[in-house]
Amino acid sequence: MLKRVLIVLIALALIGAGAFWLVTMPRPLTAADLPDHQPDLENGRYMFFAGGCASCHATSGGDDPFHLGGGLELKSPFGSFYAPNISPDPEDGIGGWSTLDFVNAMQKGLSPELENYYPSFPYTSYQRMRPQDVIDLKGFLDTLDPVTSSVPDHALPFPFNIRRTLGGWKLLFLDGKQFEPDPDLTDEINRGGYLVTGPGHCAECHTPRDMLGGLERSEWLVGGPNPEGEGRVPGIAAADLDDWSQGDLAYALESGFTPTFDSLGGSMAAVIRNTSQLTAEDRNAIAAYLKSAQAQETLR
């Protein structure tokens, strides 16, 4: 009798593990999923700034945004991550990656070996990008100088050091949706919505996270404790920005100055080094989206 119970229990455990294995199976895109698109290097360079890649991947301690040796420590409640080298170096960087490898990394959070990436790489936002923009970005990265560097391994305790467990996390937090413009909104607001929700990954800092580290999408852009440690990230939902005109916001994204001429600092300083490289139209579009409570309901 006891033996039978044991067998049933073991069988159930195996089915459970099998089910977990199945639902957490990586589901990469295949070549057939990619649009037929020749990389536009000019737009790729633009997406590099819109996406803020240098904020994390530029060689830490240096000030050249195109020297992508990595090494920056990213603190989180789960442990420390170290941004990898994404220069075209074939040994230390991502030289030799195919376009498909790159799109899978950016939009599915999967490595060429189909291992899960940690969401400290903000692919939960980059999944919203147009595949064409991602392909352009890959084309641009290929033109940069290869950098040799050795980056420390992430310092994560068990079980966070098991990449496979991230399959479960992705089921909850990676919805696989690309950006869909809202026909009820103006082109300007839709463009701003694209830049904020996709490449700009503003929500990764300005939206609070739950205990599993997933974005609380119901509390879109309302701000919260700084996940990197001390202080708070301010809210930038429309309701938080009564004291800011659209022009004030666009100016802040250009210059870093608030309406009272305080200078935005902390991790926002690096964001401004990127947004200052965008066109004035795009900064205005981001500002228009931030001022529109309606847009923030549909475009998240």
């Binding site: 202080g231 708070r232 210059s255 100055f257 001429f261 200078s263 600092g265 902390g266 300083a269 690096a270």
Partner: protein
């Protein structure tokens, strides 16, 4: 005109009483210095944006305000002033005072070199705003934490 008066008074006040204020309440004093920095940079920014007419005297007074604010500024962070008074100073200041002083010197030096060749036209305002603004951002990036 009101602006000139304001800037002038600020300089006088800062030089005359910085030391005694600081002894009394370093947190309130450093916040007051920074508010003046905001007002001074604001004058330059409004001119640069065309929201205010170019005025060489007001522009150069703003640079002086920034210069005198930076002179001795780091002495407003004595041990014991790490917390309280809604301070937004990062604990990193006390872990790395030399790095913090270097950021302050960047502002001091930028202001000193503009003082040496005063602003004469709108392009000068824009150049000054760029050179000075960079130093605000880079210190706030490393040594200041928003708490609300």
């Amino acid at each position: 005109m009101k602006h000139l008066l304001f800037a002038g008074t600020t300089i006088a006040l800062l030089t005359a009483t910085a030391a005694s204020w600081a002894a009394m309440d370093p947190i309130a004093t450093r916040q007051a210095v920074m508010k003046d920095n905001g007002a001074a940079i604001g004058t330059l920014a409004k001119m640069a944006k065309g929201e205010m007419d170019f005025d060489a005297t007001a522009a150069n007074l703003s640079v002086r305000v920034l210069y005198s604010g930076a002179a001795g500024f780091t002495s407003l962070f004595p041990a014991g002033s790490e917390t309280g008074g809604e301070t937004e100073a990062s604990p990193k200041i006390w872990e790395d005072m030399a790095g913090f002083e270097a950021k302050n010197d960047d502002l001091l030096n930028a202001a000193a070199s503009i003082k040496a060749t005063p602003i004469a036209d709108l392009d000068g305002v824009k150049a000054a705003l760029g050179a000075l603004g960079k130093t605000c951002q880079s210190c706030h990036e490393a040594y200041r934490i928003k708490k609300n």
